[in-house]
Symmetry: D2
Subunit: 334 residues, 4 copies
């Protein structure tokens, strides 16, 4: 049994708390939040759990072996460094840090202290994303052509980040997990309609080697919620719609047949339209799988699926996108 403390009981913290409380390999030992109102709520739900307004006190508690941090991005670096220094294993909300430099420092500290550092790239623990990864790794799609994601809704404006750091981070985490390549250049555009320094909608193109291209559309001001990703390959194509109650992944046996490259614009090009197939998916709550995996990594010394390195790679792309967005799409190397 691993005794876990949750730091930050705002929007995401309650989900972490609930999962560590219900897991048979962990206990929810303590909670901290700067708001007394939030702590009141937490105490009603978890009468046996210790609560603190100051996370330093939680970190000073020697009975706590691991912490889950769900605080604003700007605070990730100091809290994580202090937690690692206190010997705690850390599960850290995404994005890992506000800068690559901060992320690198955390990775180094975790290595030095020999502690688990898991970045909460939640989607990587869904049945849907794990299935997509398998399909790509098995070569079912053939050559990869594109990865296109739309993630829009009428969303809460975040206090300390723009829409790219809030929403695109999900897609970058997924791509980092499922794609065998890394982006080499980024072109991003966007607009801040309320605060010119904080974009509320953005379009991000990622260029990869091998002619693979990715694109993310994120928007906090859309009238409808969309969570849809198209992945195109030479042999098959995937539509991943996370809002579908079932059949979240549809695999289309579609493409074009070209005997040789010269013929592509001749009348001999033929389109191939075959069957569609929706694999049955594991519908376990992703965060439950992730929390269980975190505890497992602590108990058996295994390497997290989404560790500091994955978190760092995502932050590097976010930094490049932010730079490009300031110059209206000028390409920036990652």
């Amino acid at each position: 049994m691993i005794a876990v403390g949750v730091i930050g009981y705002g929007y995401w913290g309650p989900n972490l708390a609930r999962n560590f409380a219900e897991l048979e390999t962990s206990t929810l030992a303590a909670l901290s939040d700067r708001s007394e109102t939030r702590l009141d709520l937490a105490r009603r739900r978890y009468p046996g759990c210790r609560t603190y307004r100051d996370h330093h006190e939680l970190l000073a508690d020697p009975a706590i072996e691991a912490v889950a941090i769900a605080t604003p991005v700007g605070t990730h670096h100091p809290i994580t460094m202090e937690a690692l220094a206190a010997g705690k294993h850390v599960l850290l909300a995404k994005p890992m840090a506000a800068s690559a430099a901060a992320a690198e420092a955390m990775i180094a500290e975790a290595r030095l202290r020999e502690r688990v550092l898991l970045v909460d790239h939640t989607f990587c623990y869904t049945g849907a994303v794990r299935r997509i990864r398998e399909l790509i790794q098995d070569g079912a799609l053939g050559d990869l052509y594109y990865y296109d994601s739309v993630r829009v809704n009428l969303g809460l404006f975040q206090h300390d980040v723009d829409v790219v750091w809030d929403l695109a981070v999900h897609d970058l985490a997924i791509m980092n997990y499922v794609l065998p390549f890394r982006p080499v250049e980024v072109s991003a555009t966007g607009a801040g309609h309320f605060d010119s320094d904080r974009h509320n909608l953005s379009y991000v193109t990622l260029f990869f080697e091998n002619n693979l291209i990715a694109h993310l559309h994120v928007n906090w001001m859309a009238p409808v919620k969309v969570r849809r990703t198209l992945i195109g390959g030479s042999r098959k194509m995937i539509v991943y719609d996370d809002l579908e109650p079932s059949d979240k992944i549809k695999v289309y046996d579609r493409g074009i047949e070209v005997s040789n490259r010269e013929q592509i614009y001749s009348m001999l090009v033929s389109y191939r339209t075959g069957d569609m197939w929706a694999p049955n998916l594991d519908l376990t709550e992703a965060l439950q799988t992730e929390c269980r995996h975190f505890v497992d990594c602590i108990q058996h010394g295994t390497t997290p699926l989404t560790g500091g390195e994955a978190g760092l790679e995502v932050v590097r792309v976010l930094e490049a996108a932010s730079r490009s967005m300031k110059d209206r799409g000028r390409p920036v190397k990652t």
Copy 2:
């Protein structure tokens, strides 16, 4: 009764022919196509119609008052110039020309010859797009924030143009018609998976004055067909889904309420979620409305809704997008 000749009886020409044949104010007098097979088909359908393999012969026919040109883009300039010189009125497929210079020459020639030159921006004649224009002009949306379009499918590769000149042209034509502003800068990215010189998927961002931003996603290699546009304003937002059999336009009374700019990131920001409303639309075939309008312009000397100027503006943006795409998103002034 206006006697119309149709030049090009491939993919789009048959639709033009059918509409001019059925219109009570026009007759389908002649057809030309370089393929004897296509002419055979045309003769079976229109036994009374003269057919030519050489469009020069059609243009030499003095009984023909107007021509509709549905040939590859590269041929638009010479055929149109010859038609105008022969005194014919011209309805010209989109995009108007392969270059702004060519478009300008055609506009000048039409003005000199005092002939009608209508560019076939078909969507501008749909009930849906006309309704969107009214909603924007009436100020129903409030301040315009964004225009976002997705136009993807498993499509026929065009012989002489890339996907931007083939598909994005529709959205540029619509935007030219419905938006009160003109784009000032373009950033475009894309990929050519079969021919590196011809992109088969592309992402185009358009920057306008007043912080309005537009984005087009076009793709010839998508497993599913999507024709969906989101238009966001400060007071209302539109979802325009052209594949919906009815309810193509949904107007959402959604947005955010901010008392003053400083408060936007405070907890006082409130999201507004009101009713949704789908106006009943005129479902007349757009091309019928357009062909009727073309004949009307000829008979009454009125100015076409989508004349050479509109066609030219669209071509200018296409040129800027092509230049930006070569430099991976570097912004280009229009």
Copy 3:
């Protein structure tokens, strides 16, 4: 503060428990269930709550003012009678009873004891159903023509009831609440593929006065989940899709125009197709609204929106449907 005990902690009981626990006007004082495993779960969630394996003990507790009963239908009558005799107010799961006679006895007992008896017709407390009721009461639909509901899924076979008593009961409860008329005759068909005495799919037609007709399609063996109701009137029609995340209700301004009855089959009949409109709905959890209303009725002596009489009317129709179903659709008076 009303002290509430929940009897039955299986599928539905946890929802009742959670709502009474979180409501500011009630406390969750006790829980009973025959399964020790379920009680264990309950104790982890509500450490301060008393738990019993025998509901008689719970009912003997004088501190409990009201009980919510979520046990199999066959047990509703004895438990409710005992609870009322013990002076408790009762919130009772649907269907109210296995027979009209049993329902009548409960109503009489509640009246005698002057206790609140609320039947848990949950859907009547949703924003969607309340809005439909308003639209019908305001006459927005004109003359009512039909009410058609589909409620199918791959569902859990119930232990003690068939699919009509399990699923159609929802629609009967909604109709009882929103329609100004009562059914006078029922024709029902169905099939029991696993147990010929327990139908797993059924079709129920209800005949009303005024030429209103209703139909329910319920099925435990459908590959997809559907929750869709069409309500047709002479002036407007409603589509109510409970699985839509938003826009659950769409009101269509559609119908036919007939100048006089003789003309209906002549070519002069004209179909009217106007706008569609989706009113914004209150999305509060229905069970929260219902539990709050139950406490309110206890505290202020008001009559429940869905009391014993509503429950009884629903049971009468269920009984008629069961009789008709045995005779393959022979009509049965209600």
Copy 4:
């Protein structure tokens, strides 16, 4: 080359005419319609085709080898008898006749005259329905449990039939083609809101042997168009949505696992949720396939896929449904 005459150029006749005109094995030789306006339209489209206001004249033309009849149901019997007597092969719109007796007379006459009599059960010639038939014949679904169809829209009221004879006939024709069993009893309900003798909405249950049950919901007064069929079997289930542009058929690997019948209501019943699969379908226009098949039957003496017997069986069920509907669902043997 078979010379075909089309009798009736109203709603459906133009589709028959177009297909026989374009088929390489037939010519459209003549057309008849009582309306001069309709004949004018026909002459503009088919300048070489002979036209008659009186179908007797068309039938007297010895050059016509076959006729396609698309007139009101009440006229099917006399026109078909006259056509067969004149030695013509007949393609006859659905429903075949207004009574089983009339249908039997036509079948007898066709046999006597040794002419092809094909009933236009169009859906049986679609790729979707042919695929469903294959899946059922191959045993892919296992034991058949139910066939459930919804066919509703805001439709044109028919002049001479009610909604069952207009819309349910499609489903009866499909069932006759794909199901290995025949219905033995029918229970139907419905309502006529404008003319009490002509129902504008109806619900029809068909009982088969082997515990298979079918249900049809047809409605001319629905605000939205639905064409959706669920077919449930012990091993697999089908959703057939004819309005889907692609993926019209989805095959779900879903069902329940019961080790023995006694266990069904115990907790050991397990639901099986496997993959979904949408087979690629032949999208050729059904009527083209049907017209080609009709010509083929004439030329090679083969038996039509949907001959008089199929048409008769459908009419018998329609008659039973009409009788049941008058008695509010009382079951009627077929």
